[in-house]
C-alpha cells in the first residue's frame, strides 16, 4: 500500500497494522473524535467493555472536548483544559487507539477498510461515522479572505482571540458576526468581552428566529444593544472586501461596516461527504435506522451528521439519546432511537433565554403569556389539547426545565392551567386553590399595583367609595393604570367587594382580545413611556398573545406612526392589504387603481395616460367615482407597479382611495365660473388637498369645498367641509354620508383662505392624535362632543397653532408618493409571484 496524500507526521505503517494481529475481537473504527463519537464509545464501554477493539480517528489535533463550551472559552470564563471530556489517560486505560490530526479520507466498504489523509489504512468489522457538521459559508465575494472564519472548533476560537489581541494595538478592532442565531450571538458576546467592537448582521427581522418569537427576539436585541453591540436585523450581506485580508463587509443596501475579523455563523450542514463517496444512503444527513445503522449493516453513524426519520439535529441532547440506542444495538439490546424534542438556552452571561418545542401557535393552540416589563420578563407557554407543546422564556428561565419536562412527558396540565405560567412552585402550591379565595386572603397592605404602589386596602376603599368599574379605579386610585399586569387581581377585588353588583363589564372596551387595555390607554402609554415599536408595546403592556392579531397590529402601527413621525418605521405586515398594496382589493382578488385628481381637476395629459393604461392592461372597467376622480378596475397585483409607472409619468400620484388617510377633496366650480360662486372653492380645495394628502389617519377622511350655500360639493356630509359665503368661509366638521348619515357641526367661521387651511390642518391633527383607530370623525365627535373640538381648535389659539405645526411636521415625512416608491423597486416581493408552476415542470 502506497502513502496517499500526507500532511501528518511520518508514519511507521507496519507498526500500526501489527497491533491488530493477535487481537481477535471485532474491530470498531470511529471516524470523528467529537462529542457523539466519543460518547458512543463511552456508552459501549459501560455496557460491555471488552467486546470490541476500538480505534478513533480525529481530524482535530486534540483529545475529545466539550464543543459547546467553546463559547465560555472565547468569553474568557473557561480555559481549554477545563473543557476536556476525555484526556489521554482515558483512551489508554480503555485500550483505545486514538489517532489525532489525521482525517479519514475514504471508506472502502467492499474491503472494509478506511484510508486516512496521512496514508493510514485500517480494516474494520464495524465502522462508526461521527463526523459532525460543517459550518455553512454563504457564497459571497470575499468569503475566502484571510480573517473570515467560522465558529466550530478550537482553531476558530484561537483565531478570534488572536484578532482581538491584534485589535488591542489599534484601540479595539472591529468584528462583524454574520448570523444572529445561537452561535453568532455567543461569538459576538465573547468578542465584545475580549474588547472588540462587534456588529451582528442578521438576515431576518428577529434574532434567533428559529428559537424565539418576535417578542423575545426584541427583548434580546434591546439587551444586546445595551451591552454595546450593534445589531442589524433584516440586513443582507453583499460582499466581504479587503486587499489580501478582510477589511469590511458591504450590505446589499449599500451600508459598509469596517472589520478586521468576520465570523460566519449562519448555520451548519451535516458533514456527509465521506459517507456519500462511500455510496451510503444520504439525504440531508447520513440516513440511519432506529439503531443508528446506515444503509450498510456494517456501518453506523451518530451525531449531527445523521438524518433519522427525516430529522437532523444541531444540539447535543439528541446525541445522548442516539448514543444510548447505538450502544444498545452494538450489544444486542436493540432499544431503538425514537427522535428527540430539543430545547435551547443561550450561553451569554446575564441573559436568560430558553425555548423548547413548537411555539408557532395556530389551531387549537392556546398561548399563555406573562409579561413583566419592570423585571424584563417574558414567558410564553403554548398549550394544545391540555398539553404543553412549546415554551419561550426570556429574563426568567428558572422554570424552563419544568416546562420542558412536562412537554416531553406529554403530561396533561389542564388542572394547573391557570397557574402554569407562574412556574412550578406556584402551580404546585396553588393548583387546587380558588384564585378568589387567594385574593380575599391577602392582607390589607398587600401591594396590588406595583407600578403605582396601590395596596389592597386602598383598592377596596376606592371601590367602597363608589369606584365600581375598572376604569373608575384606574382614574381614581390608579390601580392597574400603568402596565396593566394587575388587571386580573383588581377585577377579582371588584368581584369580591361588590359581590353580585359587579357585572364584570368594562366601561371601555379593550382594544381586542390580546390586551386588557382600551385604545386610549394604549395611546397614552405609547407617548408616556416613549415606546417605539410594536413588540415593545406588546411587551410593556403585557399583551396576552405573542404577536397580536389582525385588529391590534394595524391599530398599534397607526398609533406609533402618529406619535413618532419620521422616527417610527412603518410595519407593512401590520397593514391591511389595501394599504400594503396601495390599491383596493376587489371581490375577484384584482385591484382597482385611483390616481389623485387634485380637487377633482384633470387635464388631457392625465386623461390620455389613464386611457392608455386602460387599453394597455385591458382593464375591464373605468368609472367616475363618487369622489370626483377616475377608478381603473381589474388590475393584477403583479401589474400594479407598471400601471403606476405609466401614471407617474403623466404626473399623477396615488389617490389613497384605499387608505385610512385623506381620500378626496371634492370641490365645485366656485367663483371662477359659477354665477353664484362667492369664493374660489376649486382653488381652495386643491390647496387643502396639497396640504393634507398622504397623511395616515385613524380612518378615512374626506374634505369638500362648496362655493356657496347651495353646497354642490356636499360639504356638510364630509369630515371637514368648507362652505364659502360672501364674508368668508364656514368650517364644518364631523359629517358622514355613509351607513349612518350625519350632518356636520359648524365649527366656526373664518375670514381668509389661510385661516380656513390652518383650522383644517389643526382639526386633522386633533383627530389623528385623539380618535381611536377605525373611528371616523362623526362617531368621534359624537363621543367627545363638538364643544370639546371647538375649545381645542377655535378657542385655544396657542393650542391650534401647535396642532397645525405637528401636522405639518408629520406631513413632511408622508408626502412621498407610495406608488413612485414601488415603481422604484420598494417591496417588489409584495407584487411578484415567488415562482410559477407550468404543467411541463410538474409532469
Amino acid at each position: 500500500m502506497e502513502l496517499q496524500g500526507g500532511g501528518g507526521p511520518e508514519l511507521d505503517l507496519a507498526e500500526d497494522l501489527t497491533l491488530a494481529a493477535d487481537d481477535r475481537r471485532e474491530h470498531l473504527v470511529v471516524v470523528g473524535n467529537g462529542m457523539a463519537g466519543c460518547r458512543a464509545v463511552e456508552e459501549l464501554l459501560a455496557r460491555d467493555g471488552a467486546r470490541y477493539r476500538v480505534t478513533i480517528f480525529g481530524a482535530e489535533p486534540h483529545v475529545n472536548y466539550n464543543r459547546i463550551m467553546l463559547s465560555p472559552v472565547l468569553a474568557g470564563e473557561k480555559a481549554f483544559d477545563d473543557i476536556i471530556i476525555n484526556d489521554r489517560a482515558w483512551y489508554a486505560d480503555n485500550g483505545i487507539d486514538l489517532i489525532v490530526d489525521d482525517p479519514v479520507m475514504a471508506i472502502d466498504r467492499a474491503a472494509k477498510i478506511v484510508t486516512s489523509k496521512a496514508g493510514r489504512v485500517v480494516g474494520y468489522d464495524r465502522l462508526l461515522i461521527a463526523t459532525g457538521s460543517d459550518p455553512f459559508i454563504i457564497p459571497v465575494p470575499g468569503k475566502d479572505l484571510p480573517g473570515v472564519i467560522s465558529f466550530r472548533d478550537m482553531k476558530d476560537v484561537d483565531a478570534m482571540l488572536a484578532a482581538a489581541e491584534a485589535g488591542k494595538a489599534d484601540g479595539g478592532g472591529h468584528a462583524v458576526v454574520i448570523g444572529g442565531g445561537l452561535l453568532g450571538l455567543e461569538a459576538a458576546h465573547g468578542l465584545t468581552l475580549r474588547g472588540m467592537k462587534v456588529t451582528v448582521i442578521h438576515l431576518m427581522p428577529t434574532l434567533m428566529e428559529r428559537q424565539l418569537d418576535e417578542a423575545a427576539g426584541w427583548l434580546l436585541k434591546t439587551a444586546l444593544e445595551g451591552r454595546g453591540q450593534t445589531i442589524l436585523t433584516g440586513a443582507d450581506t453583499a460582499e466581504i472586501y479587503g486587499e489580501g485580508k478582510v477589511e469590511g463587509v458591504r450590505l446589499k443596501d449599500g451600508r459598509d461596516i469596517p472589520a478586521s475579523l468576520v465570523v460566519m455563523a449562519v448555520g451548519i450542514r451535516p458533514s456527509v461527504a465521506l459517507a456519500r463517496e462511500a455510496g451510503l444512503d444520504v439525504g440531508r444527513g447520513i440516513k440511519v435506522d432506529d439503531h443508528m445503522v446506515t444503509s450498510d449493516p456494517h456501518v453506523l453513524a451518530v451525531g449531527e451528521c445523521v438524518e433519522h426519520d427525516g430529522n437532523v439535529y444541531g444540539l447535543v441532547a439528541p446525541l445522548w439519546d442516539m448514543c444510548r440506542s447505538l450502544a444498545d444495538g452494538l450489544t444486542d439490546r436493540h432499544s431503538g432511537y425514537r427522535g428527540s424534542v430539543t430545547s435551547t438556552k443561550l450561553k451569554v452571561a446575564g441573559l436568560d433565554v430558553f425555548s423548547a418545542g413548537d411555539f408557532s401557535g395556530g389551531d387549537g393552540c392556546e398561548d399563555i403569556v406573562l409579561r413583566d416589563a419592570a423585571r424584563g420578563v417574558y414567558k410564553r407557554v403554548v398549550v394544545k389539547e391540555g398539553r404543553i407543546i412549546g415554551a419561550v422564556l426570556y429574563g426568567d428561565t428558572g422554570d424552563g426545565g419544568w416546562y420542558f419536562d412536562l412537554l416531553k412527558r406529554e403530561e396533561d396540565v389542564s388542572d394547573i392551567r391557570d397557574f402554569l405560567i407562574f412556574g412550578q412552585s406556584y402551580a404546585s402550591g396553588g393548583g387546587q386553590a380558588d384564585p378568589k379565595a387567594a385574593v380575599a386572603a391577602l392582607s390589607d397592605d398587600a401591594e396590588i399595583c406595583g407600578c403605582n404602589g396601590v395596596s389592597k386596602g386602598q383598592v377596596v376603599a376606592s371601590i367602597q367609595g363608589g369606584a365600581c368599574t375598572l376604569d373608575a379605579l384606574r382614574a381614581g386610585c390608579k390601580a392597574s393604570a400603568s402596565c396593566g399586569s394587575c388587571t386580573g387581581l383588581v377585577e377579582t377585588l371588584l368581584a369580591i367587594t361588590l359581590g353580585d353588583e359587579y357585572s364584570g363589564e368594562r366601561a371601555t372596551r379593550t382594544m381586542c382580545k390580546c390586551t386588557s387595555f382600551g385604545h386610549d390607554d394604549v395611546r397614552r402609554e405609547i407617548v408616556a413611556q416613549g415606546m417605539k415599536s410594536i413588540p415593545e408595546v406588546m411587551h410593556r403592556l403585557h399583551w396576552s398573545t405573542p404577536d397580536g392579531c389582525a385588529s391590534c397590529r394595524p391599530a398599534l402601527n397607526y398609533y406609533l406612526l402618529c406619535s413618532w413621525p419620521g422616527e417610527y418605521q412603518d410595519d407593512q405586515r401590520s397593514r391591511f392589504v389595501n394599504e400594503r398594496l396601495h390599491a383596493n382589493i376587489q371581490k375577484d382578488g384584482t385591484y382597482s387603481v385611483v390616481p389623485r385628481m387634485w380637487g377633482g381637476l384633470t387635464n388631457p395629459r392625465e386623461l390620455r395616460a389613464i386611457a392608455d393604461v386602460v387599453e394597455k392592461y385591458d382593464a375591464p372597467m373605468v368609472k367616475v367615482t363618487g369622489g370626483q376622480r377616475l377608478d381603473i378596475f381589474g388590475i393584477k397585483k403583479e401589474d400594479l407597479p407598471a400601471v403606476w409607472a405609466d401614471l407617474n409619468a403623466a404626473g399623477m400620484v396615488s389617490g389613497h382611495a384605499y387608505g385610512k388617510s385623506l381620500r378626496t377633496v371634492k370641490t365645485c366650480v366656485g367663483s371662477e365660473w359659477c354665477r353664484f360662486g362667492t369664493q374660489d372653492s376649486t382653488g381652495l380645495g386643491v390647496k387643502a388637498e396639497r396640504m393634507s394628502w398622504g397623511s395616515w389617519m385613524p380612518h378615512k377622511f374626506k374634505i369638500a369645498v362648496s362655493g356657496c350655500p347651495r353646497n354642490c360639493a356636499e360639504a356638510t356630509i364630509k369630515d371637514f367641509g368648507i362652505v364659502c359665503v360672501d364674508s368668508g368661509y364656514e368650517l364644518h366638521v364631523g359629517g358622514n354620508g355613509g351607513i349612518h348619515v350625519r350632518v356636520t357641526d359648524l365649527l366656526c367661521k373664518v375670514a381668509t383662505e389661510r385661516e380656513a387651511l390652518d383650522y383644517c390642518g389643526a382639526f386633522i391633527q386633533l383627530y389623528r392624535e385623539e380618535a381611536r383607530y377605525l373611528e371616523r370623525t362623526a362617531p368621534w365627535i359624537d363621543r367627545v362632543g363638538v364643544d370639546y373640538v371647538k375649545q381645542r381648535v377655535v378657542e385655544d389659539q396657542v393650542g391650534r397653532e401647535a396642532l397645525l405645526r405637528r401636522f405639518l411636521y408629520s406631513q413632511s415625512f408622508s408626502q412621498d408618493d407610495p406608488w413612485a416608491e414601488r415603481v422604484a423597486g420598494a417591496h417588489a416581493e409584495l407584487h411578484q409571484h415567488i415562482a410559477e408552476v407550468r404543467p411541463m415542470e410538474i409532469a
Binding site: 428577529t206 448555520g267 408557532s360 401557535g361 395556530g362 389551531d363 393552540c365 389582525a550 415567488i834 415562482a835
Partner: protein, 113 residues
C-alpha cells in the same frame, strides 16, 4: 428522476409575517406563508368563504385573516376558525437546506382534473 418535492426557492424570499404566491398553470394558485415565528405553510390561495386571496391577509400567530371579509383561517389545517365554517386545501411543505419544497402531488392535485 424527478423527486416528490418541488423546489420553489430559498426561504429568504419570504420575510416573516408575509406571504408569496405561486400560480399553477391550469390549476389553483398557491399561497406560501411565513409566520412571525418563522414557520412556513402553504395553502390554496382561496378563502373558503368567497375565494378571497388569503396571501393578501394579515398573518398573526398561525392564522391568516382573509382580506375580503376577515375570516380567520388556520395556516396549519386550512380550516376556518371561530364561528365560521369551511376549509381550504393545505399543501404539504418542507424546508430543507434553506429552500422551500412543496409536495409535488399536492401541487398537481390542485390542477383541474
Amino acid at each position: 428522476m424527478i423527486g416528490n418535492w418541488l423546489d420553489i426557492g430559498p426561504v429568504d424570499q419570504i420575510t416573516p409575517g408575509n406571504a408569496r404566491t405561486l400560480p399553477v398553470m391550469g390549476g389553483e394558485e398557491i399561497a406560501i406563508f411565513r409566520t412571525l415565528g418563522g414557520e412556513f405553510h402553504a395553502l390554496v390561495n382561496k378563502c373558503p368563504h368567497k375565494h378571497g386571496p388569503l396571501s393578501q391577509g394579515i398573518v398573526h400567530g398561525g392564522v391568516v385573516t382573509c382580506p375580503l371579509h376577515n375570516w380567520n383561517i388556520s395556516l396549519k389545517t386550512g380550516e376556518a376558525l371561530g364561528e365560521d365554517k369551511g376549509c381550504v386545501p393545505v399543501i404539504p411543505l418542507k424546508v430543507d437546506a434553506g429552500r422551500i419544497f412543496l409536495l409535488r402531488s399536492a401541487v398537481m392535485g390542485q390542477m383541474a382534473a
